[in-house]
């Protein structure tokens, strides 16, 4: 019931939602998150970014995060897609979709997966912008968000 994919091609939210729901009669709740490229980070204009990852480790890391979410909540289907490579502003980077019989479980698991992905899945962003290329710095706030799941 897990679909986890690291890919260069864009994804379509419509397809992902359809895959979460098709024939799914028991899960009344679907929570989804999409992360997109913003036009600024730390104040500087951004025109696009290149996403690098650690092939092999990335997939293991994402699977472990999803396994841990399943151990915490009663979940139906989980779909987690993360793009790598070159992306322009407004393009979508990551999709997380979770279904459950329970609304609270769907929300919590979706947020948990994103919080852990942000701090432990081996992805790195190189932004292109007005001031040239620069590596995006990790945020302390992302680390602090993990505390709510401790």
């Amino acid at each position: 019931m897990d679909f986890i994919e690291v890919r260069t091609a864009p994804f379509a939210v419509a397809d992902e939602f359809a895959a979460l729901r098709a024939g799914n009669r028991s899960d009344g709740a679907s929570a989804m998150f999409v992360g997109s490229v913003r036009d600024f980070n730390a104040g500087a204009g951004v025109s696009g970014l290149a996403l690098e990852h650690y092939p092999g480790m990335t997939e293991k890391s994402l699977q472990r995060i999803v396994d841990d979410a399943r151990a915490r909540w009663e979940l139906g289907r989980v779909r987690l897609l993360h793009r790598v490579g070159a992306m322009a502003v407004e393009e979508d980077i990551v999709f997380v979709g979770v279904t459950s019989p329970h609304r609270q479980a769907a929300f919590a698991a979706c947020q948990y997966i994103m919080d852990r992905l942000k701090t432990e899945a081996p992805f790195w962003k190189l932004e292109s912008g007005e001031a040239g290329d620069s590596w995006v710095a990790a945020r302390d706030s992302d680390r602090r968000e993990l505390e709510k799941w401790a």
């Binding site: 992805f123 790195w124 590596w135």
Partner: protein
Amino acid sequence: MVKVLFFASLRARLGTAEHRLEGFSGSVAELRHRLGELFPDWQPALQAADIQAAVNQEMAAATTQIGDGDEVAFFPPVTGG
């Protein structure tokens, strides 16, 4: 042989994505030190406080032991999502 990978800003600063080291066994911290001895230019980037390590594609501590055939990666904090 230990296969050492570098990612993102660390790769960019070292100017290399991969290095193969023969005859090493020891901890992650010792490997970092050894690489700094072999390539003094790498020291500042390799010793940066926020550099993390993975051994065989699992997050590793400074004390994690490495031996022949292992894959070790060094990288800055992750920024996906």
